[in-house]
């Protein structure tokens, strides 16, 4: 299962490890990781970086109250937190997408984008980014639309090629708005990709989030 040739660049994987990546982009990394052992190993190392940085922090002791409260709670904690609920999703679907896909790709609400492409929107991120699946017919052109910002793509099934080469299952690609590539799905089968497109509303959303991450929590 380690066949991908295109990986997230290091600082992106580090941001994933740090938990500071927008969740929409983290979805793409996670989908890639299911196909890429070497990025899994790099991630482990990057987690060590976080761990070591945490050890260097100046400790901030908790109150005895908190300790006693927690120790008193242990016996009454619901055990099901530890259990994972099995879901019956098609094994072709990456685990991180199970939250959006009940059964399999075929049951999604696919909408026609062009003669060659159908899309199924999965969700929006808080920064306005759109998360969708794209299905490109065999030999079809995978050029979708112009957009602002970067587009993150992970190939889930099939393959496509462009001027710079062939891309297969698990490959992770970032394209910016200036990108001139014209990818085409290979003839043998249809191609399904996870695509995250940053939206123009991102900028207001981002600032609000920066200023008000805890505002809804009434801690008065």
């Amino acid at each position: 299962m380690d066949q991908s040739n295109n990986h997230p660049y290091d600082e992106l994987l580090a941001a994933y490890s740090a938990g500071s990546l927008p969740l929409s982009q983290a979805l793409c990394i996670s989908a890639h990781l299911e196909h890429c052992h070497s990025c899994g190993q790099r991630l482990q190392q990057l987690n060590h970086v976080g761990s070591e940085l945490m050890q260097q922090l100046k400790p901030a002791k908790a109150s005895d109250e908190l300790k006693n409260k927690l120790l008193g709670m242990l016996d009454s904690l619901p055990q099901d937190l530890a259990q994972e609920q099995p879901r019956e999703v098609d094994s072709r679907v990456p685990r991180c997408l199970h939250q959006f896909i009940d059964k399999g790709y075929d049951d999604l609400d696919w909408k026609r984008v062009s003669a060659d492409i159908h899309s199924a929107e999965l969700c929006r991120d808080s920064n306005g980014a759109k998360v969708e699946l794209l299905k490109i017919k065999p030999g079809g052109s995978a050029t979708t639309h112009t957009h602002m910002g970067d587009e993150y793509t992970v190939i889930l099934e099939g393959s496509f090629s462009d001027e710079s080469g062939l891309y297969g299952q698990g490959d992770f690609l970032v394209r910016d708005e200036k990108d001139q590539h014209t990818p085409v799905a290979t003839q043998d089968r249809e191609c399904i990709c996870l695509a995250v497109t940053e939206g123009p509303i991102q900028f207001t959303g981002f600032l609000h989030r920066l200023l008000n991450p805890f505002i809804r929590r009434g801690y008065a």
């Binding site: 290091d10 945490m54 989030r209």
Partner: protein
Amino acid sequence: MALMATTTGKSDKLAHLSACIGRVADKRDKSAFAELFDHYTPLIRAYSLAREPGADLVADELVQEVMTRVWLKAEKYNAKLANLNTWIFTLARNCRIDYLRRNSRYATEIDPTDIFNEMEDEGPGPFQMVQQNKAQQSVREGLEQLPQEQAEVLTKVYLEGKSHQQTSEELKLPLGTVKSRVRLALKKLEVLVTR
């Protein structure tokens, strides 16, 4: 000599804490859990306060979330796959992401639970274990020698949970500079496994 002593001290401490997590898993031992609480809680609170200075209630809430998971998931912890400090870090990271999502003004429908593993599944073999331990030590030593400007971006990204964009705005640096500093820092820490 002094450095050697600290390193040995640290690994003894970690071995002791790993034994504690074993006792929690096997015997539901509350005194072992209390030892883990005493050691890790100040670090978890510091991690939360790094992002949200002064927010003690938020920090306490993160402690509860993380330590609850330590109690419930102790059995799943596998010392062969991750060092205990790193497991606690990933738990704290995951709980913080979840907390931020639940309390963000601009809600997202994306549930982080299935995105972030608590332990990387594809663990190293015994030979690689040795390499991993070496690598972890080189991370530790490397951090001490990192130029200030690189340590600063790593702190923003890992401890304060800032995106590259946020980091660039706060440090008044071009986005490209932030990214290249992260990259240079990682290279110095030798964390990039050769593909």
